[in-house]
């Protein structure tokens, strides 16, 4: 396998991990706008361990993921008690805070960052993707997956049915942060150099776009979105100047035409009974939410 193919495969795998990680949070209906922060935690955590403490990469990745999960749980616990608008604000502020702190922290090189991480292999990325996909297949078929879906569809009804919504949502957010952290660690050990600037709002938006583009209904939709959007910049180099505009317009057009993403059915339409085999429930009546009736 040529070095180029290898790099493309690793990059694609990391993008898929990012999209899947984000999907876990989104599957409870919680959109984070600073997910790059968890990437940064995973990247910096694992890089410190491999560079300065001499840990083997897999262990360092796991440790980075744990730190990331703890941070995710903390942010989630603060934010998920509040309404959606606050979650957006808090995740955004959290990622800015993290970047500010990393810029100040001389131990990790401040603004110029860390240098010299290597070791990410295709096998390693592949193992991570397979593990996460396996976890997601189990999750979406478990009662926990059902709880996620219940929270996404209607928090009050979920609460009424005995789902501990804050606990479940915080758990989902922490898991999501952990997967994103692993992806960040893998990316750091592929690209040799990391600095706080890599994990700004741009990166967060790209993670969101990966996930939303493919569709948030099924996790494989998010993965396909990540593969497609991740490969485009590699094979269309000439457009480099226009990527910001293309990505921005993609958000705008997608939200008008297909807010559910390219894959997945419209919420207004039929409930996807046939496609999700685990649930043969009768079709629920269309709900009218009282707060969503502005003319």
């Amino acid at each position: 396998m040529s070095a180029f193919t290898e790099a493309v495969l690793i990059q694609t795998g990391i993008n898929v991990l990012l999209a899947l990680g984000y999907w876990i949070a989104v599957s409870t209906g919680k959109y984070s706008f600073g997910h790059a922060a968890f990437m940064a935690i995973g990247a910096y955590g694992s890089s410190i361990l491999t560079l300065k403490m001499g840990w083997p990469l897999p262990l360092a990745l796991i440790a980075g993921a744990v730190v990331s999960a703890v941070a995710g749980a903390l942010v989630g616990w603060i934010a998920l008690r509040l309404s959606m608008l606050y979650l957006a604000i808090i995740t955004l502020v959290f990622s800015e805070l993290l970047i500010t702190l990393l810029n100040q922290w001389d131990y990790v090189g401040g603004g110029s960052g860390l240098l010299g991480m290597t070791g990410t292999t295709v096998t390693m990325v592949l193992i991570c993707v397979v593990l996460v996909v396996a976890y997601l297949i189990l999750l979406t078929r478990s009662r926990m997956g059902l709880a996620y879906e219940a929270i996404r569809e209607d928090e009050r009804a979920a609460m009424g049915s005995g789902v501990k919504i804050t606990l479940v949502a915080v758990g989902a957010f922490a898991t999501s942060a952990a997967v994103t952290g692993i992806a960040g660690g893998l990316a750091a050990h592929q690209q040799l150099i990391i600095n706080p600037g890599l994990y700004g709002p741009q990166q967060s938006l790209i993670i969101i776009l990966f996930c939303v583009f493919g569709g948030v209904q099924y996790f494989w939709g998010a993965a396909i979105g990540a593969i497609v959007l991740g490969l485009l910049p590699i094979y269309f180099n000439g457009l480099a100047d226009w990527y910001q505009i293309i990505y921005g317009l993609l958000f705008v057009v997608l939200m008008i035409v297909r807010p559910q993403g390219l894959i997945g059915r419209s919420r207004a339409g039929i409930f996807p009974v046939g496609l999700s085999l685990r649930r043969a429930a009768p079709e629920p009546e269309p709900r009218v939410r009282e707060e969503e009736s502005v003319g």
Binding site: R81, L82, L85, V93, L97, T100, G248, F251, V294, G295
Partner: protein, 292 residues
Amino acid sequence: MLVQQLFNGLLLGATFCLAALGFNLVVGAMDRLNFSLGETAMVSAIVSSVLLNRLEMPFFVAFLASLVIGGLLSVLVYFVSFKYVSRDYPNASILSSLGVGIVLTALVIKIFGSEQQVIPDVYPGTRWDLGPIDVTASQLVILVLSAALTVGLYVFLERSRWGTAIRGVSDDVTMSGLLGVPVERVVILTFALSGMLAGAAGLLTGLAFHAVSPLDGFATTLSALIIIVIGGLGSVKGAVVAAIAVGMVETLSVVYLSATMRDIVVYIVVAAFLLFRPQGLFGRNAGVLERV
């Protein structure tokens, strides 16, 4: 020294306040955040600086232009990111307006370049010595204009017919509609007002720092959101108080700690609010769900 710094903080707060009020208006009307307001402010400021520098227009023309551009952009965002976006997806409008923000920033960089644009002083050289503080003409302009806009907005919302309609729609849109309020037109008016406030905020912040960068949009959004968290979502009074407080905290921490500590101090304050008083100073219920 301290009084002068407090005055500088007040100025900074006054410009923050305008942007935060812009966000608050949209939150009231749609229960959604318009994430492109920061970029709207930036575009207004950049175009104004072009008017001031290349066409040598007087300041008040540039100011009016910033209001008009801000208002128009914001109405455009309403149609693109809110009206035609399905309400079944609570995050769709946020994502869409973020997308608009990215496009605006990229377009401005394509057209005007990525370097900072200078915003010249108003009446350069004029300054008054008022005992402990020293005021330049620009600072006076910033203070007067932002105070006028804030008070004007408050009076408009509280006293006028359309202002009452805006508050009605923000309280209960279905009921307002049933009572004969033309909801659609009120919402467009709200977006126009919020864009005008953002546009003014962009120009006045630029005037305070003598420069505006195409990458300022995100910072404006962030500081406005911080103020909204502290002041309370949807509260005019809260936004004013929080903006002035944040402005003063920022200036004082630059002077007495260091420039790099400024952001950290502000973030700590925000975190404390989120933990102990999530509804902010004067906020309505922040949607704190009862625990099961």
